[in-house]
Amino acid sequence: MLRLDSQCLTPRARRKAVYAGGTNKSHGVGSKSLEELADWKLKATRVSELTLQAGREMQQEQTARVEAFHQQQSQRPLTMARASSPEAPDNAPQVGVVEMDGGRIRTRDENGPRGVTHPHWREFQAGCVVRLQSQASEEDPRREVPRLFLNRPQVQKMVSQLHRQRGASPDDETDNEILNESIGELLAGEKLVENAVDSAANATASADTQGKSQYARTHPVRLMRTCVATLAGADACGRTLAAEAAQRGLDQAARKAFVGDGQACNWSVWQRYFKQQGYIPVVDFIHLLSYVYTLAMAVGRTADEGWQLHTQWVTALWTGRAAEVLASWQALAEQFDIPPDQALPDHDPRRPIQRGLTYLTNNLERVDYPRYRRLGLPVTSTLMESLVKEFNLRVKGTEKFWNDPQGAEAILTVRAALLSEDDRFNAFFAKRPGCRYRRRQTLHREQQLQAQHATAP
């Protein structure tokens, strides 16, 4: 079986071209990489054409798979748990985690004339399905707050970056790029918490005459990650993630969580697709911390007093005393006469209190961090933050505009396949059928190849 089509490429050669287009910073760089690394001269426009075509085909395949999965689920009684996918591996993971977040991509009108017509930003939703290994324990393995969260300059830096992210204007490219870099640096993998806890543990250890840390390295270890991304909105992303989770056997995991920031759309997805399967909802601790810091600084009469409040509240939240923090914030709201049902303007000095109070009230059931740590579940969305950064490496950049929606959707799909660790990228090309018919342009391509063949040294 030759599996050829109009493009005059063997399936393996096609895979190489799409890999170059999906991995390098641009199609142009991909073309240069192919020439340098594979001695293959392929124009950037061809790399682009092949990459986006593969993206569209992958997306069609994914849509069909997801729809078939949900169709099958819809025939089951509502009270029944989701059926395991026939494709799910036999070994259910110890811990399964689904995380979801958004990113932004610059786009242009699809059918406009040559060049960039109507440049605009589009929000894309990305999610990952991760198999983890960790130990559950009776005792909280990390009772003490990681030192990083009590390190004033570090917290200031982290919070200002998160605030810039929330308030950044869509055209503020520089801010976004800086933020992505910094978030990546700060939140890369579980290293942030892990390192902070390790540092804290080391500090304790050095003070300890026995020289042994009371903290074992019990943070969850990532075994395998698959991911999805789409422009079609949070619900479409959640729908795909649900099929993905079932396919990866996550629904059968002994312990499982859905981690996200406080955005309502994340929790609608959890409610609709994951709650019934027993996924524990977890609000990212770092996002919560940013609200705590802002509120504390707004309330404190001096910066030192604000920092003291931050330390006190962060410690309380880390140790599972969220209700206590909520009560003190409610008391503050009363003291400052904050209306419960009317949003204050952004310039109002009481706004941080209102925002913090709303955030904690809405997420109170998702901030039981000692329980999550005992279950060996992650308490931050660092896996997702670093994944968004990996998407951005390819899809974002100055003067980079994708056709809205097809071009953007295609590159996100290719990128997701390349970032998934289940070999789906290679599997796609191994299964991709050829075409029984040819287009006219084939002849022209064949002539080009013929000339190349004739002039080969």
């Binding site: 050829l4 089509d5 109009s6 063997t10 063949h453």
Partner: protein
């Protein structure tokens, strides 16, 4: 597959050694011959071998095809012919003989070795 790979590697090695001796003579290259030059020659040989292996293997495979194959649209049986085609592979272009049928009922060519129908 492992045995086939082992045999392929052994044969290719023998052929490559012969090739090297043919090109450089039994004494080997001169002392001033640069490694880049030798490497370029090796790559050229590998590319030529790539083309030749694919072309020959497909030529032999084609002989196993039946004389006639059904048209994917109308199912009428059409005579299998072969046409030369250039394709780009991992290591460069390769010239192959591709089976092609012409359905006179549909007045259309079709390529039976393409596999299932996909966007082309």
């Amino acid at each position: 597959m492992a045995i086939k790979e082992e045999l392929a590697a052994k044969l290719a090695r023998q052929l490559a050694e012969t090739f090297s001796e043919e090109v450089y003579g039994s004494d080997g290259p001169e002392l001033d011959c640069d490694i880049d030059e030798i490497e370029d020659l090796a790559v050229l040989a590998a590319r030529a071998a790539f083309d030749a292996v694919i072309a020959r293997a497909l030529l032999l495979q084609n002989q196993k095809l039946p004389d006639k194959l059904p048209c994917p649209k109308c199912q009428s049986r059409c005579r299998v012919q072969f046409q030369e085609r250039m394709v780009q592979g991992r290591m460069g272009p390769a010239k192959i003989q591709e089976p092609v049928c012409h359905c006179s009922a549909c007045d259309r060519d079709f390529f039976p070795s393409a596999g299932n129908v996909a966007a082309g």
